[in-house]
Symmetry: C2
Subunit: 480 residues, 2 copies
């Protein structure tokens, strides 16, 4: 039974929420009276389909149903989460909550995407103030996991815990903010940088392009994986944070920022910024820029996922909750079900030959874990090393395609294990791989018979799979 | 003939410069009177060896010689670039320049790593003020390409151009700052964020860990690939930058930052930050954190390099300048020479089986480009698609290992091309691959004979390679 979310407001942020919930298997009910809102949200979901599933090495849950509704009461019917992403006008938001609370489930959580207002401000005229919290995400919402959760003194901590669990369930990384404050935490940093940038452009110190490069070629990369304090801890060296503050602290007294002063937003300054931004990015449409950004973010996030750190840890932890269950091993089984991510493509515009082997290697890892060769087993006992692969490439595979693999055990004898993979792409056979492995001791990293229980299991599987016959393409490995 | 750089000051920044120059083939002469400086710089070079070469898919130039000198005059002898990374005390830096200028080549460029001082301040008491500029890098200097180049009114633009070329040559991305200003550009942003962060910690809104997460799970990732303005251009949607400023501009009047006010750095505040930072990162040593950071940055930067955008474009452009020249194709030739990057390892702690194929695929791309199958040819005519691979895994390969491949043409007949690769790791045969390719039309994506000149060339190569015999392991492909 799918869960239901109501999305109030279908702009860049609301649409991003809708896309993430839908891709995580929730039914999504959208209310946005604006013309073109439905088309925009559907376009957003389309973009998200090309990006979010690629962060995972398993298939996501079946997509939820996306529907659009003319009234608030229809949109919030059955919703256990109601996300408001209306324009940043307090009166408008308050009026919306009154309408919502007249019809919604009193147990539902109403989250606001507000960048600036505090929960106390939002709760001002509400029927049930304790139902409303800040749940502030970051664009693109379907990729970036950060969501700032903020309650007021009227907020029940249990409700925040429930919100945390629910957000974690759709792959977000909720950050509970300890005290309410205008702009919460992250946007205060953005606002500070924005002010300084306006001065630098106004005073002709740097253009928008130069400022962007000053960010993305240096500290932006650092901040994609460690934040401010951990980065500075490193700058301080072995002497630690105290040393760093002693060294860097004095700069606080120097006039290095102009930040409480706000440059006047004259027509001239606005034109200057717009013209510089056009010169920098005007050759690409917004849709092209979005696609570029999503591809970049996906690739960077996947690179951290492979390492299991920073945002990659959030992804890995979430992936564990949607891993497939162990199937019946006594018949050829599905060992891979995933989308082809953007970084698997090569100069020919299709999935690179090495990625077929990577997909097979992922399938192999999963099968081996099922027969007991888990990370723990590898750390303490042994593993299976590939000694030979024979790959036939039968069809091209493109970004976003759904890739599945079935594994058949051809042979399990002593230290040897021979597996055969059929890799399908959208239902067509795209490749076969014959893989020859030997069991090794991880102490010596040399061949060694597997433990008796593992050997007995693999032999039983090989015998059970034998009735499925030897594939025509088999037999190319183990000859030398 | 190697070029020479003098490094004055061997701390985190000076050591990073030394490591980058040495790995890019420069002889590096270090002056740092501090105890332990030599050991620290050597350790930095060791870390850099594990990271910087992994950003490139070709081998870097032969490493330059790293030497340590007791006097400034010995260190700057023969140096065409002199990089000063002394502590941030103006009087100290000025005195150093006087000593340097008494002995250095007047045509050499003296770059200062200063975070805060302007070039005019640095040039104050100099013999030849026009010789001194700001060249401000970002930690770790051996990975992040950004360097802010700043001159004063006394600086010859031609000298800044020369500095730009030289920095580009060692893989940096020089940003010429248009007007001198305390803290240049990027550090003004860092200072603004730092001030805001101190308030948030002091006021108990968030801990150092929470602030770091607020950065690295959200906007930090965005800023690793697009900067502030391009990101906001997207937020503004198709209406563009003007719309965004109109929408977001009003927030400038709200009290979202506390930035000109500086919180007093009381013992209490320093202790609070240090304690929170210990709780967050204290379980890892600085060396472990550095290794974690370098691995993360390398992986993220490589993911953008594969896409050829943002920092990845800097890397690609630089790589083109150190690409190997086309060898004699009429003998089996070296088609790959590279270091194994951090992201090629798997759960067994060694290079994953798919990465052998990726290395082979890179070698294949290079060979195919040499016979005329260039990106331009692929875009307009045809390409070679792999239909079968037979891989024998003969030795484990670890992160940082040097990987080379030689390619032998076994067969070139009609649409078919059969190649054989010997992949060596540190001189040991680690794998062989037999690769069967067919030529395709990129219009139909179906098999089609290659153009006559390409066919003639591949046949001539196959005939010339025939005298090297057929490898024992050959013959596993093309049977089905």
């Amino acid at each position: 039974m799918k869960r239901t979310v109501a999305i109030l407001g279908g702009g860049v942020i609301g649409g991003g929420w809708a896309a993430r919930f839908a891709l995580m298997g929730w039914n999504v009910r959208v209310f946005d009276p604006g013309a073109g809102a439905e088309a925009a949200v559907r376009a957003m979901l389309e973009r998200a389909r090309a990006a979010l599933p690629a962060l995972y090495d398993v298939a996501l849950p079946d997509e939820g149903r996306l529907t659009f509704h003319d009234t608030i009461s229809a949109a919030v019917a059955g919703a256990e989460w109601i996300q408001e992403s209306a324009p940043e006008r307090l009166a408008l938001k308050r009026k919306l909550y009154q309408q919502v609370q007249a019809v919604c489930d009193p147990a539902a959580i109403i989250g606001s995407s507000t960048s600036g207002f505090t929960p106390s401000e939002l709760q001002g005229c509400a029927t049930r103030p304790e139902q409303i919290i800040v749940a502030h995400p970051f664009n693109p919402v379907y990729l970036l996991p950060l969501v700032e959760l903020v309650g007021s003194q009227k907020t029940d901590p249990a409700l925040l815990d429930r919100a945390t669990d629910l957000m974690t369930g759709i792959g977000m990384n909720p950050l509970k903010i300890r005290k309410e404050m205008p702009a919460h935490v992250a946007d205060r940093f953005l606002e500070a940088v924005w002010r300084e940038a306006l001065w630098l452009v106004r005073d002709g110190v740097a253009t928008t392009q130069e400022i962007d490069d000053a960010i993305r070629m240096g500290f932006g990369l650092r901040w994609g994986q460690m934040g401010l304090f951990e980065t500075y801890r490193l700058a301080g060296g072995p002497a630690g944070m105290k040393h760093f503050i002693a060294q860097f602290g004095p700069a606080l007294d120097w006039p290095w920022t102009k930040l409480m002063d706000v440059p006047e937003l004259t027509e001239d300054l606005i034109d200057k910024i717009a013209a510089q931004s056009d010169a920098q990015s005007g050759h690409m449409s917004i849709a092209e820029l979005e696609s570029l950004r999503d591809g970049n973010l996906t690739a960077m996030m996947r690179s951290l996922k492979a390492r299991g750190v920073a945002v990659g840890k959030i992804l890995k932890d979430h992936e564990k909750t949607i891993e497939p269950e162990v199937p019946d091993l006594m018949a050829p089984m599905v060992t891979l079900d995933r989308q082809v991510p953007v970084d698997w493509v090569d100069g020919n515009g299709h999935m690179n030959e090495s990625r077929y082997v990577q997909a097979m290697s992922e399938a192999s890892d999963r099968f081996l874990a099922w027969i007991g060769c888990t990370p723990d087993y590898i750390a303490t006992r042994g593993s299976w090393f590939t000694v030979e692969n024979h790959v036939r490439y039968l069809a091209e595979v493109m970004i976003g395609d759904r890739l599945t693999a079935t594994t058949q055990v051809l042979e399990a004898k002593g230290k040897k294990l021979k597996l055969f993979y059929r890799i399908e792409c959208n239902g067509t056979l795209a490749a076969t791989v014959e893989q020859l492995l030997i069991h090794v001791s991880m102490a010596t990293r040399r061949a060694e018979a597997p433990p008796e229980d593992m050997a007995a299991l693999t032999q039983a599987i090989a015998e059970a799979h034998a009735c499925h016959g030897v594939p025509d393409a088999a037999g190319a490995t183990g000859r030398t």
